[in-house]
């Protein structure tokens, strides 16, 4: 019973979702919107569970003095400090107060400072790491091991050099044309082949879920 009810629910709502795609009727749209609202509701409750999970795992690490537990202290401190500044602030009259339902907290100078001077540089740094990893990956991957790998290598060089201003306009335009062809023809053909497979795989998986053949998402693999 514990497994049958979820399967039944998935079937009913899955079939409705297929139906609503083909039915633009007002009633079908209304039910669709109503169901979509539930995503917000479930999301909010799940967020509470998520935050609880984070606190629990971090607290457990600190309590048991596990390896590098200091990071968990930073995590919890960041969570509570940002939450505190995010819901407090000054109103138009300069009065300090708690703001749970309005946006004053987001204009709190401390909230902004933490955001602009801590989060922004950290996130930008994390993203910029990608440049380093791409360089090292390109160095290791682009080897002319066989004909196909050589074609890949040459294509990569053309795409990378297509906007090189030192080649002059004539060579630049020619390179640009080759690069555009590489991107729009062979690259696109390969991508579309994969995408068609993905599309069919998606429909197949969705049908398997709706029909109750696939139950891995319930732990019944």
């Amino acid at each position: 019973m514990k497994r049958q009810i979820p399967v039944l629910l998935v079937f009913v709502f899955g079939v409705f979702m297929i139906f609503q795609y083909f039915s633009p009727h007002e009633y079908s749209e209304w039910i669709y919107k109503f169901l979509m609202d539930w995503i917000y509701i479930i999301g909010i409750f799940a967020m509470a569970l998520g935050i609880w999970s984070l606190i629990h795992v971090s607290y457990d690490k600190i309590k048991n003095k596990r390896h590098d537990w200091g990071y968990s202290v930073v995590t919890l401190a960041a969570l509570f400090i940002m939450m505190f500044f995010g819901i407090t602030g000054f109103d138009e009259n300069g009065e300090w107060g708690f703001y749970f339902m309005t946006q004053e907290g987001l204009t709190n100078p401390m909230f902004r400072n933490f955001f602009n001077h801590i989060l922004v540089p950290i996130e930008t740094t994390m993203f910029s790491l990608l440049a380093f990893f791409i360089s090292s990956a390109a160095y290791r991957a682009f080897r002319a091991r066989n004909v196909l790998a050589t074609m890949l290598l040459v294509s990569a060089l053309v795409v990378m050099l297509r906007f090189n201003p030192y080649f002059g306009e004539a060579v630049g335009l020619y390179m640009n044309k080759i690069a555009a062809w590489l991107l729009n023809v062979p690259n696109m053909a390969a991508k579309r082949a994969i995408l068609i497979g993905i599309g069919l795989g998606m429909v197949g998986t969705a049908l398997k879920v709706v029909l109750g053949i696939e139950r891995g998402y319930m732990g019944k693999g």
Binding site: H25, S53, L54, G197, G201, V203, G219
Partner: protein
């Protein structure tokens, strides 16, 4: 009395001049008044097809003075009323040269733009000159009603494809159920999952399973749940540690249930630790930083990346490679596939991710659905070739069969 009138007029003119209204009035009065333009003809109003109602399409033939004749028409204004001869309200305007207007209203009754369904409505179109007062109204068209459509006729090709694909699936699943042996080509990435779990057990190190950045409603995440359940079952049997850091709280809740059920199915419910599946953050790079930290601290023997990945894919996979883990990845995000292929030991490309659960279980029903996918793919290839031929011999009717209208 005459003097009083003169003085009063002077005061009035002075006052008007002060507030700056005299000049335009004088100029306007001197400007030639345009003659009323010819009216628009053949006004026709119809319900907008394939929609939720509350919308109509108004079409007409241009005024003879639009771009020709006296060239007086500047724009067309469209009016609607629930009565044939009064209470017309302007609902929109289009510049000269146009012969069509979509009057799209809202569903909300309290809204100003509400158009009632199944109610008689009347329309007229005014040809308006540079002087908005000078205009000519068309004949009133009506009554006409808007209504909701139960079926979207423009999506028949999609419905047909879904039905054919569904039928293929049901057929192959029933064939598989009867015990017919179905061949599917082996996938190295899938075979590696078993070995990787064995390796982790031998080394006494954990397995890190990343569900990606997708939400629970994405097919790639659903496929990842299925693979997670298989991995968790084996992990439970071998009594190895499993770490599942999550990006989305709903995904975390589902993943907890998946792992818990797998431990139960494997007969080791006591070994399940709720903290093994935990939430980190819904911030892409903060999540990456946390997962990289786990990789470098706990040195997992195997990292499994299955689901939706974006720019973080290479950062995760390269860090995993530095930590010396065996890495298996699978994603349907085409842009990230090259990164995983470079940095991981095995990569499931696109649909292979969805097929993984069928491979892992080797259950006939699952293999049957894979067979259906293969046949559908063959059909797509055949249709693409036919389409290519049709377009080259200008057989447009063939192309039109597959046209989907939104």
């Amino acid at each position: 009395m005459r003097y009083i009138l003169i003085i009063f007029s002077l005061i009035l003119i002075t006052f008007s001049a002060v507030i700056g209204q005299v000049d335009p009035v004088v100029t306007d009065s001197l400007a030639p008044v345009p003659a009323p333009p010819a009216p628009v003809t053949e006004v026709a109003v119809s319900d907008k097809a394939n929609d939720h109602g509350h919308a109509l399409i108004i079409e007409w033939k241009r005024s003879l003075d639009d771009g020709a004749g006296s060239n007086a028409v500047m724009l067309y204004e469209i009016f609607r009323s629930e009565f044939p001869d009064s209470a017309f309200k302007m609902v929109g305007s289009v510049p000269l040269g146009n012969e069509r207007f979509e009057d799209i209203g809202t569903i909300e009754k309290e809204s100003r733009d509400y158009i009632p369904d199944n109610t008689n409505l009347y329309y007229r179109v005014d040809a308006v000159t540079i002087d908005p007062v000078v205009r000519t109204s068309s004949e009133v068209y009506g009554p006409v009603q808007s209504y909701s459509n139960w079926f979207h006729k423009g999506r028949v090709p999609v419905l047909t494809a879904v039905l054919i694909f569904g039928a293929l699936m049901v057929y192959f699943v029933s064939v598989a159920r009867k015990g017919t042996e179905l061949y599917v080509r082996p996938l190295a990435g899938i075979a590696a999952v078993d070995d990787a779990i064995g390796r982790a057990t031998e080394m006494g190190r954990p397995i890190l399973y990343i569900l990606g950045l997708g939400t629970a409603d994405m097919i790639s995440t659903i496929a990842s749940f299925t693979i997670l359940s298989r991995v968790a079952k084996q992990v439970a049997e071998y009594q190895t540690e499993l770490i599942v850091p999550c990006y989305d709280p709903i995904v975390m809740t589902v993943a907890q249930e998946v792992v818990k059920s797998s431990y139960l199915d494997a007969g080791h419910p006591d070994n399940y630790k709720e903290d093994s599946v935990f939430y980190i953050t819904t911030n892409q790079f903060a999540y990456v930083a946390a997962v990289n930290g786990i990789m470098l601290r706990d040195l997992p023997a195997t990292n499994v990346y299955m689901g939706k990945f974006y720019a973080e894919s290479l950062i995760l996979a390269e860090t995993g490679a530095v930590a010396g883990s065996i890495q298996i990845a699978g994603t349907d995000e085409v842009g990230q596939l090259p990164f995983f292929i470079v940095a991981c030991d095995y990569t499931l490309i696109g649909e292979e991710l969805y097929a993984a659960s069928a491979y892992l279980g080797r259950e006939p029903i699952m293999l049957g659905s894979l067979k259906a996918q293969d046949y559908a793919k063959a059909a797509v290839i055949v249709l693409m070739i036919l389409g290519l031929l049709a377009i080259n011999v200008h057989l447009n009717a063939f192309i039109e069969i597959f046209k989907v209208v939104d």
